[in-house]
Symmetry: C2
Subunit: 576 residues, 2 copies
Amino acid sequence: MTYLLNSASDFSHEALLGFAAANSAYVTAVHGGVVRSTETPEGQPALVIGGGSGHYPAFAGWVGPGMGHGAPCGNIFSSPSASQVYSVARNAENGGGVIMGFGNYAGDVLHFGAAAEKLRAEGVDVRIIRVSDDIASNTRENHRDRRGIAGDLPVFKIAGAAIEAGADLDEAERIAWKANDATRSFGVAFDGCTLPGADEPLFHVPEGTMGVGLGIHGEPGIRDIPMGTASEVADLLFEGIIEEAPQERSGRVAVLLNGLGRVKYEELFVVYHRVAERLSEVGLTAVAPEVGEFVTSLDMAGLSLTLVFLDEELEQHWSAAVDTPAYRRGELRDLSAHADRAPRTEFYTPGAEQVPEASAESQAGAGSVQEIIELFAEVCATHEAELGRLDAVAGDGDHGQGMVLGTRGAVEAGNKALTRGAGARTLLVHAGTAWAEAAGGTSGALWGSALTAAGRALSDSASPDEAAGVEALLNAVEAVQRLGGAQPGDKTMVDAAAPFAQELQKQFQAGGGLAAALTSAAEAATEAAASTAQLKARLGRSRVLGEKSLGTPDPGATSFALLMTALAQRLESVAR
Amino acid sequence: MTYLLNSASDFSHEALLGFAAANSAYVTAVHGGVVRSTETPEGQPALVIGGGSGHYPAFAGWVGPGMGHGAPCGNIFSSPSASQVYSVARNAENGGGVIMGFGNYAGDVLHFGAAAEKLRAEGVDVRIIRVSDDIASNTRENHRDRRGIAGDLPVFKIAGAAIEAGADLDEAERIAWKANDATRSFGVAFDGCTLPGADEPLFHVPEGTMGVGLGIHGEPGIRDIPMGTASEVADLLFEGIIEEAPQERSGRVAVLLNGLGRVKYEELFVVYHRVAERLSEVGLTAVAPEVGEFVTSLDMAGLSLTLVFLDEELEQHWSAAVDTPAYRRGELRDLSAHADRAPRTEFYTPGAEQVPEASAESQAGAGSVQEIIELFAEVCATHEAELGRLDAVAGDGDHGQGMVLGTRGAVEAGNKALTRGAGARTLLVHAGTAWAEAAGGTSGALWGSALTAAGRALSDSASPDEAAGVEALLNAVEAVQRLGGAQPGDKTMVDAAAPFAQELQKQFQAGGGLAAALTSAAEAATEAAASTAQLKARLGRSRVLGEKSLGTPDPGATSFALLMTALAQRLESVAR
């Protein structure tokens, strides 16, 4: 139940503003989330941690010295958009590159990934850490493919401390993955949570039972078992995790007993009483254990236990001082000492991006690129209804609209970039960002990233030739494949895009020229799409867990083939 | 709903042990609660804060440098017993006296007061701070008679910081009261909380309404009004408090937006967004505002807003560093620096009290005192049934049993003290503690304190003479009156005890000797009791709010008169 709201649609945003107002000593709200309100050392890697809202204190509550540099905040239980992630990362980055940290969910993988593409196109080194601590969500062998739940806290705490202690980007990335590989969580749910404005919880656990292996977005658990006493629940969670204890271990563990929202603090302590006994029985010492609410799921009734099997390095960073709105640890010293933390006064706002200087050749090339974007926008507008019908088979039928909105946004941004003297590379990066922003959803994020990635094949100095054009298209396909986490055969757009890229490269290398190669490639895409179309009664599964958070389903291979065919025809007619 | 428990009766205790296990760097469990696990500077006043359980992080979560020295923890929503408070205070005290801080509820006033009596009898200076921030519970003119709710946090934070900064007992007491006088809270409830093991909440707020002026023990509020939006709720709370803003103010306020348990963090931030706007409108600056769960009420759905109108002194202490399990603020410095906080190894355990050396005269006197206690125990045993019947008119009929258990405990403790060579003073203090412990409830606390207070009139060196005996009886009556918070006419035991004391003093001063004076005094008590007996159809109201937490009701004047008459007769027959 949500008692306090003004409007369901403004809920997350108002909560973010209220959070920033209450914690102005730590954070400032920027487009898409929050960053530290104080200056950070130049050259220090920026730890950008985030995900959907509804998990407070995760993630915004952890921004401050010793932990996060910024937190993009999506809507309730939805990944922040690529544009939100980009804005926060852009604001947090201070010359040392970016570590993006988030729980391993398809939506987050996609949107953080798209933002990373864009930053990389701008020359920023970005590393990605997917937290995957939930032992209920995959096998021990596939630890890095598990979902992220309360393990977010220790992984980000340890990474943040390593950075505070002077780690560079490589080192921080290494330690963060090491922390994730040493972290195991297991949870149970007793009742579901209710989205703001909704009347009913997302699920109910049957009376007298509990859902084992809870998720933090209203996923009820992987199986129901009879309700236990507090000690029995403690035993269940402890035994699940201890089975995965590494052979070689220091005997020291970070321990986190995390309430999901509606379980009382006193209940958590009753459970911890038993956990402490079990730890002692197996000879494990709890280092700075934490019992409370850390990664919540609105008002969900449930809890999870997390252990991090520490070595000396991990323990040092787990125990280090940290000072954030909702997570603080360290020695006493008066706040007045904070005065030497200089307040930060300049922040990035979207739309105010600099346009780097470009050569006349690249500016001319940018004009050609813009023509192709406009052509593609026309193709999408012409085929809007058909794309909608394709999508309606498996999705919600808004793919046509999304493509029209996205290409229209890209065209506008491209024109604006042209008038500001942008080169070909910058034009594509701006157009890609605008596409994702205007179209929204998964499809928007993928296409936007494709344009951004294409831009990386070009430059703001040289004139883009046909070879660069092919390179750009290959980059775009590769970005879609990487970000979507899909392989050929997964029944997504990649089923058509991969043969498209293969054929394009082959024909161009054979010397047929760009337009001819594109036509052949579009034919290959159409053939591949047709051969898998019959199998597409249902949307193909992505390889990444938590698929439902992907948002708009991708209408896939058929629409890709259709659009490439139309585009090739238009380009050929223009070329003639 | 309580999801996690082993047994309802062990719930609070297991929670306390789990809490202590998870926070062993800060606290150690002792009889009755927790104290700091690290040494405190000798001569530093000890801040002992507490109340019932079910309010975590209040109060145990606030024990550590810069805040509490110890926290007695009662059962859910019940005051800790005098013996619990005493044990924690005894453990916390380190030569600088004790400040006891608690919310202004009758049960807490009584039991903390009784513990204070005992400590004072042992020569420890004790001051009492009753937090009374809830504007809904009494008028502005009677601020110090209001209930304590979330204002506990800023008052104890400020008092703890003052002590950390070097304040002595007088100074700490002054600042604590000043903080309380500057603190105002106002809350609303949306749904009640459920006690561990119970099936139903303590109350429901009618659908579509909210209860204004919530309490933190399941009190539903003073009136129901239609449910509002988040901003309307913020306005309601803000306007209620701002009406009481002092004329002269610095323009700076401590702000606390406190969730009672089931309201989500995100909801609190949506409300705070509006609060920040209102503060800005009236030109108030929030200093280190706090939004979260601080004084909870199990899983109650509700929230309260607290403002502390700061001057320079209060702001300094509000902003100062603090390091406790659940409330931390300060500058970064690694935990390894904690190593210089020496772990504490010696703690007080009840039953292991030292018996101070006593003169042979006082030891002999202790024997006489013990005879009187035994006589009184006989009187109680004889009249057990009658006392029960008296009590049954207004209470639950267990007064006779309570008096028998109490006096039996006192006799045992007295005998033990005698064998260990106790003087008269120490014997009475031990007997009083044992009485309260054995009898339990309000009546036990009052009678136990009466004995302890009586002890203060005697010494462990001089032989107790008749004048000292009179003094002891007067002290006892005065303690009952002070602790119970009742005046003659309030229809409690005091209606008989006050004339008893008056007549006793008068007759003894007239030279009639102790036994004769006691007989006259008992007659006066009987007469006074008879004249008020007709009015006693219902239990008299205590002057302190929250009467229902008083526990066992006092059967009052009649039983006091009966017992004193019987005692006087026995003493006369012994004397003859």
